[in-house]
């Protein structure tokens, strides 16, 4: 039995096992910390920075940072909310996000996060408007990387769960992209039953399960029924799990 530690999040006291990340501990306590690159069943990588919190005054990623005994953590403050908003807005500006026609709309974590964070207008950044060809070569799966937010969830799902290494980052900095292990998806050994292609791995509408688009009626779409994070806040732990 591991040691129990105690800390506060925005003044609320939280108890956790020593070694748990701030995010794990908060999830268990019903405190939602926004996140995009982290998902259930995947190793956290701390890259999207949306889960930024202040640990005793220092900014850290809550998904990778272990909780500390007697720490003061700030999460839902004006300053941190504004960081998160900026990070999420930049993602909209980096890709091409036409939500009204996107099949992920209503099920998309990026869109849901924008709603949760109250983002309603354009940010003062340029729209990069990338033109990236759709890879629809595979009979069951398509990739529209214009919507990719480089969260790397597909990389970890394929590598750690499927043992396939279908995805990898290529390039650096602003040129960083998600790459696949062959010239086209059809030439890889991807199958629709891979965990990497299951609903909820890709947080946005980049990985597309063919012919399933718009099958879910608007009022039954995940985030039309509940705000992102609300299942954690209701202490249902796994925000990615559909309601029973």
């Amino acid at each position: 039995m591991s040691r129990r530690i105690h800390f506060t999040v925005d003044g609320q006291s939280v108890e956790a096992d020593d070694g748990q990340s701030i995010m794990e501990a908060c999830d268990a306590a019903g405190i939602y910390i926004p996140r995009l690159c982290d998902a259930e069943a995947l190793v956290p990588q701390g890259s999207c920075r949306v889960c930024v919190v202040k640990l005793n005054g220092h900014t850290v990623a809550a998904c990778t940072q272990p909780a500390e005994d007697r720490a003061h953590i700030e999460s839902d403050t004006h300053e941190i909310r504004s960081y998160r908003r900026d990070l999420v807005r930049m993602l909209f500006h980096e890709g091409n996000h036409l939500c009204p026609v996107c099949e992920a709309s209503g099920q998309c974590e990026l869109q849901a996060m924008a709603y949760r964070l109250g983002i309603s207008q354009d940010a003062p950044y340029p729209y990069l408007q990338p033109v990236r060809p759709l890879d629809a070569s595979h009979p069951d799966i398509a990739l529209d990387t214009n919507r990719c937010i480089l969260c790397g969830r597909c990389i970890r799902a394929s590598r750690d769960v499927d043992g396939k290494h279908l995805f990898e980052y290529v390039g650096r900095g602003i040129h960083k992209r998600i790459g696949i292990s062959a010239a086209t998806l059809a030439e890889t050994d991807a199958t629709i039953d891979d965990y990497a292609f299951s609903a909820g791995v890709c947080p946005v509408g980049c990985i597309i399960r063919k012919h399933e688009g718009y099958e879910v009626p608007i009022d039954e779409r995940r985030f039309n029924k509940q705000v992102i994070g609300s299942r954690i806040e209701a202490k249902l732990l796994d925000d990615n799990e559909e309601e029973a």
Partner: protein
């Protein structure tokens, strides 16, 4: 309010008139009136800028995205585009027969759309002209004055439209830009709760629809001169029909009849439309002029939409609307006011009457569907053998709408062509504008606002959705200019594009 600035031309005698913009027409366009040396109108042209942005945008997209994306073409009849694209995608996914629940849900959506669109047109766009007269000043001919003068009528208009929008929401998930239809089916059945909320209201809606038909019938009967002489010209007509000749708005085969109601072609499968229709390009217009191949471009133009549907149909399959069709066909609607025997009607103003008969038909169809148990449950989607091409036709509120796509083996769109109702009506609208200009403007020295309004009223009868006809997402100005025999613009009327 709209204002008009008049800039007199330097050369008296030879003039062109431009009207800008046509208020209360969906979208914008431009009219030029060509005068000869004697100040007589030789021709009037409705110019619409064609912009094929959508066809390009959709290239490479995935086939199931099309019914959702294509709705963005039009803020007024997105459901028609949604359903027509879905019908074309049914072809591509190899489904010729939808499961009953899917077909009925789609029909329900479609009838809701025609109901709300026709009601909007009638109460908001057309009724001011009819209640206050075409010559009334623009500040009087608008919906706000209608509400003041006849609040109960205006209220019914609003509530009928709302009912149609609720039907759309119940079937497509949203009042506008929903996602109900998917290739091969629909994404949900109607909930019992929604059905039970809609059904009790249907009798009131039907009574109001009957009242609206009475209103326009009484108007037409009380103004025989106007009906007979205002933009009244014989034309061919084209629409879908059921194979027994019943009016059919959602699906069916294509039929065309001549001015006397004799068939030109019958029971043409949508996939074969290219064998029967052609499109002509004219140097002065960006919008094409479709015509019936066997008759040639001079004789082969036709009308689509409510008036045309009344002319092609043998009957209407619902009893109340059928009764109203007979009443309509008995109007003395011939060009000289005489009964034309076969019940063919050619007066542009009768579009309004026909539109309200369709509203009644839609209400009856909605009633039937709401009482049908299939609407509540059943299989939602069918699958079939993939095909490369899909061609679909639907009767949109304004007339036949064609969607034609090709899709590659990766499910990506490689070809898209749309022919919208306003394009089908292009020749007829030009004819209507010429007719009105000749009758009302020829030889006049002073052009009054009322006279220019007659042109607007004529165009408005066709309810052209200009932004959609031109496949543009933005707006386009509409002006009226006067051109002399040498082609020089000598007078131009420009109204600020403010809102009425």
């Amino acid at each position: 309010m709209t204002e008009r600035t008049i800039q007199p031309g330097k050369t008296p005698g030879n003039r062109v008139l431009e009207i800008d913009p046509l208020t209360r027409v969906e979208g914008h366009g431009k009219v030029t009136i060509h005068l000869d040396a004697d100040n007589q109108v030789s021709e009037a042209r409705l110019h619409i800028v064609e912009f094929r942005g959508f066809e390009r945008f959709i290239q490479g997209r995935l086939l199931w995205e099309v019914p959702v994306i294509v709705q963005r073409l039009c803020g007024i009849c997105p459901v028609s585009h949604h359903l027509c694209a879905a019908k074309a995608m049914d072809q591509i996914v190899g489904v010729d027969q939808l499961p009953p629940t899917a077909e009925k849900m789609r029909r329900l959506m479609h009838y809701g759309q025609i109901l709300q669109s026709n009601v909007l047109h009638f109460f908001h766009l057309a009724s001011p002209d009819l209640l206050f007269g075409f010559d009334a000043p623009a500040r009087q001919r608008n919906i706000f004055e209608v509400i003041k003068k006849n609040p109960e009528l205006a209220r019914q208009g609003v509530l009928m439209r709302q009912f149609g929008q609720e039907i759309i929401e119940a079937t497509a998930g949203k009042k506008i830009h929903g996602t109900g239809a998917i290739p091969g089916g629909i994404n949900k059945a109607l909930s019992q709760e929604t059905r039970d909320a809609l059904l009790p209201r249907i009798d009131t809606i039907q009574a109001w629809a009957e009242g609206a038909v009475d209103l326009i019938r009484d108007y037409c009967q009380a103004h025989p001169e106007q009906i007979a002489h205002f933009a009244n010209f014989p034309s061919n007509a084209m629409s879908l029909l059921r194979e027994d000749g019943a009016m059919e708005l959602y699906d069916g085969k294509l039929y065309a009849v001549d001015t006397e109601g004799q068939p030109i072609f019958s029971a043409v499968a949508p996939a074969d439309f290219n064998q029967y229709l052609m499109e002509e390009v004219r140097s002065w217009s960006y919008m094409k002029f479709p015509f019936i191949r066997s008759l040639g471009s001079e004789q082969g133009w036709y009308r689509v939409g409510p008036l045309a549907r009344m002319n092609t149909a043998r009957f209407i399959s619902t009893p109340a609307a059928q009764k109203r069709l007979l009443e309509y066909r008995h109007l003395n609607g011939g060009a000289n006011g005489e009964t034309n025997g076969k019940g063919m009607q050619h007066a542009s103003l009768l579009y309004h009457w026909a539109r309200m008969i369709e509203v009644l038909h839609c209400v009856e169809q909605i009633h039937r569907l709401l009482e049908d148990p299939d609407i509540l449950s059943g299989e939602l989607r069918a699958k079939g053998e993939r095909r490369e091409e899909g061609i679909a036709i639907i009767e949109a509120p304004r007339g036949s709408l064609f969607h034609h796509y090709r899709v590659d083996k990766n499910d990506q769109i490689t070809y898209c062509n749309l022919i919208v109702s306003t394009t089908h009506n292009n020749s007829a609208m030009n004819r209507a504008v010429t007719e009105v200009a000749q009758r009302h403007l020829s030889g006049q020295k002073n052009i009054t606002e009322g006279l220019l309004n007659h042109i607007e009223v004529a165009v408005r009868a066709y309810d052209p959705c200009l932004s959609c006809a031109t496949h543009a997402l933005g707006q386009m100005p509409l002006q009226v200019a006067m051109v002399d025999a040498t082609g020089k613009t000598i007078q131009q009327f420009t109204r600020d594009s403010g809102h009425a």
